[in-house]
Symmetry: C2
Subunit: 250 residues, 2 copies
């Protein structure tokens, strides 16, 4: 390396350092806000859609219910924070989790400005025993959820609508059922979440024609009538063949 090149190298390094300092100083001037994540964890049990709630810790919200939330740690991506909350509260990993919306009304938190990012998760209540029952953690029927702290009712409503819509486009609901399920269970799930009645034959036809159900050859055995066949969902086949959206309809 020539000395001219070396000098030029040093110059460049200095420029980079200066540029970095400039950006860092700029960011210093930004107002800072506490960020939390709130997890709306849906489950399905007894033919009803449920959501995990706990009692608020805060005196101010005495007796009210809240979603599972926590502030985001330094240098923690919000997706990771949501997974962490889920893990800390339910002991579960590898469940479906998706960012839904950010809520930022200036006075949504009485303790000062706090912005929260809502995440949705869906899990099978049977497979996910609630190990940590602090704060009366429990599955609450979504339809009757009320008396909630902060703007958590609004967040729940938005997430519920989100779920209803996504259910029609993606087989999210299957995360709410056991690995093996009967078509009746599947239909109950759709009827409960979408809050509509569906024709049984057309429902079956629809799902069979999509060709993502694998017949396990097994039958229900915990039921007091003719047992239905049990199916698994073929997630691999689904991810290869999922429908591309082309039609304009509004």
């Amino acid at each position: 390396m020539s000395s001219a090149e070396a000098i030029s190298g040093i110059k460049k390094q200095e420029d980079t350092n200066n540029a970095l300092e400039q950006v860092q100083q700029l960011v210093e001037t930004y107002p800072r806000v506490p960020i939390t994540v709130d997890c709306v964890i849906f489950g399905f049990d007894n033919n009803e859609l449920k959501v995990l709630l706990i009692r608020s810790d805060l005196e101010m919200f005495d007796g009210k219910w809240t979603l599972l939330g926590d502030f985001a740690h330094d240098d923690e991506e919000l997706d990771d924070a949501a997974y962490r909350v889920l893990r800390e509260r339910t002991g579960m990993r590898d469940v479906y989790l998706e960012q839904v919306k950010t809520f930022s009304k200036p006075h949504r938190h009485p303790g000062g400005r706090v912005i929260t990012v809502a995440y949705c998760s869906l899990l099978n209540t049977e497979h996910h025993a609630l190990n940590i029952l602090d704060n009366e953690l429990h599955w609450h029927t979504v339809k009757t959820a009320c008396n909630m702290a902060f703007d958590h009712k609004e967040i729940l409503d938005v997430c519920y609508k989100w779920l209803q819509k996504r259910m029609l486009e993606h087989p999210l609901g299957l995360n709410l059922l056991p690995e093996k399920f009967s078509l009746r269970e599947l239909q109950n799930l759709y009827e409960a979440i979408l809050d509509i009645k569906l024709d049984r034959r057309n429902f079956r036809k629809k799902f069979f024609s999509m060709d993502f159900l694998i017949d396990t050859g097994e039958y229900e055995d915990d039921v007091h009538h003719r047992p239905g066949r049990l199916y698994r969902f073929d997630f691999d086949k689904y991810s290869q063949n999922k429908k591309k959206w082309t039609g304009i309809e509004f």
Copy 2:
């Protein structure tokens, strides 16, 4: 009021104050993060989808393009911040604006941790002259957008996908056209944004059957061939009759 009631009232007030202090102290302990909004402002011109970009101010991103962004003010709801950015940059109010997604990778901003919330806006390039041309504000073709600062390319990509999907469910695209438009312009818009070819007859049939187009009786006059009829979109009728989603398809 009895003195017992008065005392009880004072007691309650004290409790409330204590409770409030408790919450405020709690929020004090949360880590704080700078929040910005970034606006992805789409326009349509010359049969191409465009997006508003400016040159980065930062030495570090010399020559790179960025979305229109700004940090959120204290006690400013993020929706309002996005509208403010839009107003400050384009002088426009009353345009469509929607929150899309929050981006929070810890090192997405070189100056330290910054979380950003992306908003999408669609506007008609003809009706929205760019008054403020600082930082080389200009309409950039979406397809060729690259060399962007921060994670703005990723944000743009996410918003573009979001737009493509929403276009099929809601008449968002009409915010990109003049108030009166021909069916050819409308089809060009859909073809450009969705990046597909559509059958002209079926496209017309589809839109006429939806019955949201109002025939103005006028014709194009800036065109070197047989002029097409001009239509307006009936937003009122649309908002009353918009399709409810029921079918399961994935």
